[in-house]
């Protein structure tokens, strides 16, 4: 009896809650760590970047306006779904990163735990970063952190799942929305993550995932006037200065992060990087 032929998946972009192909019609081959063909991924274009920014901007009002408790629940629900896909993620991480299943399992577990960690921050970060300001006068003054808006994220190139989750989760936990350029050569877990997000309660457009060539897409994200902040984590070294210079055109907040040891427990730096502080004053008196 012959073995059953599996059904191969067509990998697409995740944009505004939908799974379109690149408008350019382009794809590029994705291989495992040994060079064996895995799939054709969509190769996003400049226009896809712009569509993604539009989707992220559209989603920003509702997502940033949701209660912190609600955002926490929505994000926790994502962790539940990640857990359900655990085996699939382990297989994908193992093949794309060229590691043993056991190591891949510990990475996937860490990624899910990381997501839970950030989910719990949604309704605590304002207490930690906000303040009642003891001003010298008859005024009540308070400061609150607020999401900066649409964040362009260049995801880590090496760490295809744990790194990816470590850069996306803090952005959306704050109430920002994200346009993410995934790892160029290891995009499969990002695509699986988008399937998780699509079936979760995270509204469409809050996270947009673009597979493709980082060097081609990053400049469009860096120069886009409706992007408020740029995370350079996965930027090619030779492009970092250029991207940052381009981001200055609209005074973007730039996170000069690089690939790091993602297994290490993070601090709240990535949350702070995409938060503004708003100070409100009102007179006191009878």
């Amino acid at each position: 009896m012959s073995e059953r032929l599996s059904v191969a998946k067509t990998y697409k972009l995740y944009l505004g809650g939908a799974f379109p192909r690149s408008e350019s019609g382009r794809t590029y081959p994705v291989t495992d760590s040994r060079g064996k063909f895995l799939a054709n991924a969509a190769q996003a274009s400049r226009k896809d970047v712009r569509e993604a920014v539009v989707a992220a901007r559209k989603a920003f009002g509702k997502w940033s306006g949701a209660t912190a408790y609600n955002r926490g629940q929505v994000l926790y629900r994502v962790a539940e779904l990640l857990e359900g896909r655990r085996e699939q993620f382990i297989a994908e991480v193992a093949s794309s990163e060229g590691i043993q299943a056991k190591k891949a399992a510990s990475i996937v577990d860490a990624a899910i735990d990381r997501w839970v960690w950030y989910a719990g921050w949604t309704d605590k970060i304002a207490t930690v970063l906000g303040a009642s300001n003891p001003v010298a006068g008859p005024y009540f003054s308070f400061s609150v952190p607020e999401p900066t808006g649409v964040v362009g994220v260049l995801a880590p190139q090496k760490s295809s799942l744990l790194g990816l989750i470590s850069v996306i989760a803090p952005v959306i936990a704050t109430g920002c929305t994200a346009v993410v350029v995934t790892s160029q050569d290891r995009p499969l877990s990002a695509i699986t993550l988008s399937e998780v997000l699509a079936t979760s309660d995270v509204p469409g457009g809050v996270v947009n995932l673009l597979t493709g060539h980082t060097a081609e897409l990053a400049p469009w994200l860096a120069s886009h006037a409706d992007v408020n902040a740029l995370d350079l984590t996965g930027a090619p070294d030779e492009l970092r200065a250029e991207l940052e210079a381009s981001a200055s055109g609209t005074v973007k907040r730039v996170l000069r992060a690089t690939e790091e040891d993602w297994a290490k427990q993070p601090d709240i730096r990535r949350l702070r990087a995409v938060l503004e502080t708003k100070t409100v004053w009102h007179p006191m008196g009878v």
């Binding site: 970063l129 300001n133 409100v280």
Partner: protein, 476 residues
């Protein structure tokens, strides 16, 4: 019957004005090797003093001595000791507050009432507040033992010369950094008196260096490889250039840039109180305020009544001698700035807005511009979009709260905003909706060292003041 005010000028002698001022480098006042500049009194156009400026080699020397001071003295010093130095500065500023106020008004053109009651006391308060942080940084929420960045290069504007110097220097020192500061070309004097105070307070040499000069000195400082942190307050245009020039470096950057704040008056607002707030919002400091309430958004149903009250109130503002204690609006800081204001006002008229200008008498000499209110302004007009940085208010109307917010947020800036309404829930709703770093409700233009200040979007990033403001000077 009309009530005339008798002149009540503050004595100019209190300023201890000297014929020449030198830059402050490595604890000494030394001649800079740049071309000296003459700083003038914008209210009379007379030369106040000659000020030596820095050259590229002076900047280089200043950065090197600042680095040495940070490595050897200021960085290793205990926070408690640093605190005492900064407390000393605060106290000595208060002691010399009247002198600083008069000098500020002479050099800048702002009314003595403002320099005396706002600029100088708030500047001293900034030192006093930050002094206390120096030995408490472990509790600031950035993890244990947060480290300073190193040498901070700071470039400040001419609208609040001493106050901006305080906003920059105090947190930098508290966090353990050393400073090279460039005051604005047209207003270097009070920063150099602050340098005297710093010398009298026996701050170790090189911890604070003050180098006057024009934009080229600022550019040298910003681009000097030995600087670890840049803090800039000024125009969005220059801020973008600085951000671009720091791309690819490891220098930390904070920017406090321009604004075009919406001041929103809802139909239930206490109108007389709102009028005072509107006047304070746009005519405070001749409108030379990055967070000025330069776009008045009035609910349509009360627009006519409010405008009438506003004209009446603005007509009573007294424009003239900055040293006169009765003066409400002083001199425009420079001829260049006056020309910019005049150009934008001409554009407003050409684009069809309805101009009303106070009939107040203006002094014959000096740079003055009468308070001006444009009605019938549409969002597309330049006077609704561009920062005028002068005593010019653009009035727009709205019908619904949602429309007010949409119009208020329709700007690439995001520094400040104002809300006038008696309804608490509406205040909190509007404050939440406005994309601005500072929101004043039923008040305007309030500043305090404990309250973080800074912008969204193209108004810059980073905050000054409060616990939040420490982040700008720590390696966290």
């Amino acid at each position: 019957m009309t009530w005339d005010y008798a002149p009540a000028p503050e004595s100019r002698a209190i300023a201890n004005l000297k014929p020449s001022y030198r830059m402050f480098l490595d604890g000494e006042f030394v001649e800079g090797s740049g071309e000296p500049l003459k700083t003038i009194n914008p209210a009379t156009e007379e030369v106040l003093a000659e000020v030596s400026t820095a050259s590229a080699s002076d900047v280089d020397r200043a950065v090197k001595v600042a680095k040495r001071a940070q490595d050897k003295v200021w960085g290793p010093m205990s926070g408690a000791e640093r605190a005492k130095y900064i407390f000393r500065i605060a106290r000595m500023m208060a002691e010399r507050s009247r002198e600083l106020a008069v000098l500020e008004s002479l050099d800048n053109g702002k009314p003595i009432r403002e320099s005396r009651d706002v600029d100088v006391p708030t500047a001293a308060a900034h030192f006093f507040y930050h002094a206390g942080w120096a030995d408490k940084l472990d509790y600031a929420g950035y993890g244990p033992n947060p480290r300073p960045l190193g040498v901070a290069g700071q470039v400040i504007p001419w609208n609040f010369p001493l106050l901006m110097a305080a906003w920059k220097i105090a947190p930098a020192l508290a966090c353990g950094n050393t400073v090279v500061l460039k005051p604005a070309e047209t207003t270097p004097l009070t920063a150099l008196v602050l340098a005297e105070i710093i010398q009298q307070a026996e701050l170790p040499p090189g911890v604070v260096n003050i180098l006057p000069g024009a934009g080229d000195v600022g550019a040298e400082l910003v681009n000097h490889p030995g600087v670890n942190k840049i803090a800039f307050t000024g125009s969005t245009e220059v801020g973008k250039i600085i951000q671009k020039s720091l791309a690819g470096t490891r220098k930390k950057l904070t920017l406090e840039l321009g604004g075009k704040a919406a001041n929103i008056v809802f139909d239930d607002a206490p109108l007389d109180q709102a009028v005072e707030g509107i006047v304070n919002g746009i005519f405070f400091n001749q409108g030379h305020v990055c967070c000025a309430g330069s776009r008045l958004l009035v609910q349509e149903s009360i627009a006519e009544e409010l405008l009438e009250k506003l004209h009446k109130r603005v007509s009573t503002l007294r424009i003239g001698d900055p040293l006169d204690k009765n003066t409400d609006v002083g001199a425009i800081n420079s001829r260049d700035q006056l020309t910019k204001i005049q150009d934008l006002v001409a554009t407003g008229e050409a684009e069809g807005a309805v101009r009303w200008t106070s009939a107040c008498p203006l002094p014959e000499k000096g740079f003055f511009f009468a308070p001006t209110v444009f009605a019938g302004v549409s969002q597309a007009m330049r006077i609704a979009r561009e920062e005028i940085f002068g005593p010019v208010l653009s009035v727009l109307t709205f019908r619904t709260p949602d429309e007010a917010i949409a119009k208020a947020n329709n700007t690439p800036y995001g520094l400040s905003a104002g809300i006038w309404t008696e309804k608490g829930s509406r205040i909190l709703w509007a404050a939440n909706q406005l994309r601005a770093g500072v929101v004043w409700a039923n008040t305007f233009n309030r500043f305090d060292p404990t309250a973080p200040f800074g912008g969204y979007q193209e108004s810059g990033f980073g905050r000054e003041g409060g616990r939040t403001g420490l982040e700008a000077y720590l390696d966290v």
